[in-house]
Symmetry: C2
């Protein structure tokens, strides 16, 4: 149905990345043509779209591998999937709050005005000395 270039266009996943996913065992090894070229079916496209979407949502390859494995057994409990999503949400929240603290400090630093030369540069001084910061990073 699709050669790798077509699959790449359909999903937005670059060709070397598709081959990498194959090597990592995220997608099944596709059928090869007589000339050794990868040939994908609709399921291959669907699985790659799933992976692309999960990656766009920031999930790790490991998380995705578990989700992919899971989704091949419809009768199993989906508890693990809920845990992964939940855990990842927490992870993103933590990341955001860390970045917000950073942003605060950086705003203070980046908006400093000074005489314009290195010797008395307030930005360089602020980077040199954490005691000038209001909080932790």
């Amino acid at each position: 149905m699709y050669l790798i270039g077509e699959l790449s266009k359909q999903t937005g996943v670059k060709i070397p990345t598709i081959r990498y996913y194959e090597e990592m065992g995220l997608i099944e090894k596709p059928h090869r043509t007589s000339g050794n070229q990868r040939q994908y079916e609709k399921e291959g496209l669907e699985r790659l779209s799933f992976i692309k979407h999960a990656r766009d949502l920031g999930l790790s390859i490991e998380d995705i591998r578990e989700l992919v494995d899971l989704s091949s057994s419809p009768e199993k409990s989906c508890k693990q999937a809920h845990e992964i999503a939940h855990h990842h949400l927490q992870f993103i929240k933590t990341k955001i709050s860390k970045l917000r603290r950073l942003e605060k400090e950086l705003k203070r630093v980046a908006l400093l005005d000074d005489e314009g030369h290195v010797g008395k540069c307030k930005i360089i001084a602020s980077l040199a000395d954490h005691r000038l910061c209001k909080g932790e990073h």
Copy 2:
């Protein structure tokens, strides 16, 4: 004055990382003892503290290299330092807003409740199909 382990304790930078910074040209090669061990002076400690703080604020090694180079010439214009700080602030802001969009989508996904098995799992369905999302990532 300090051996590498002491420097590490003082700054919170791990020993292999200090050696890595040396190799990258971020810190000067220190004097060696007769037994080939690195021996740092006060300036070495100060420079490493600078680097640590800038890293904690999220600056890249490349940015830090420029700042370090710059700070050795006090008479030069510090325009470049201001640019780096500014640019980095923008970078952090962009990152935060991307993560917030992600958080929104993930909240929607992670808090879904369903019948508890993979076949009808709403989380897995949401990951499989971006059309179920409200926005871009």
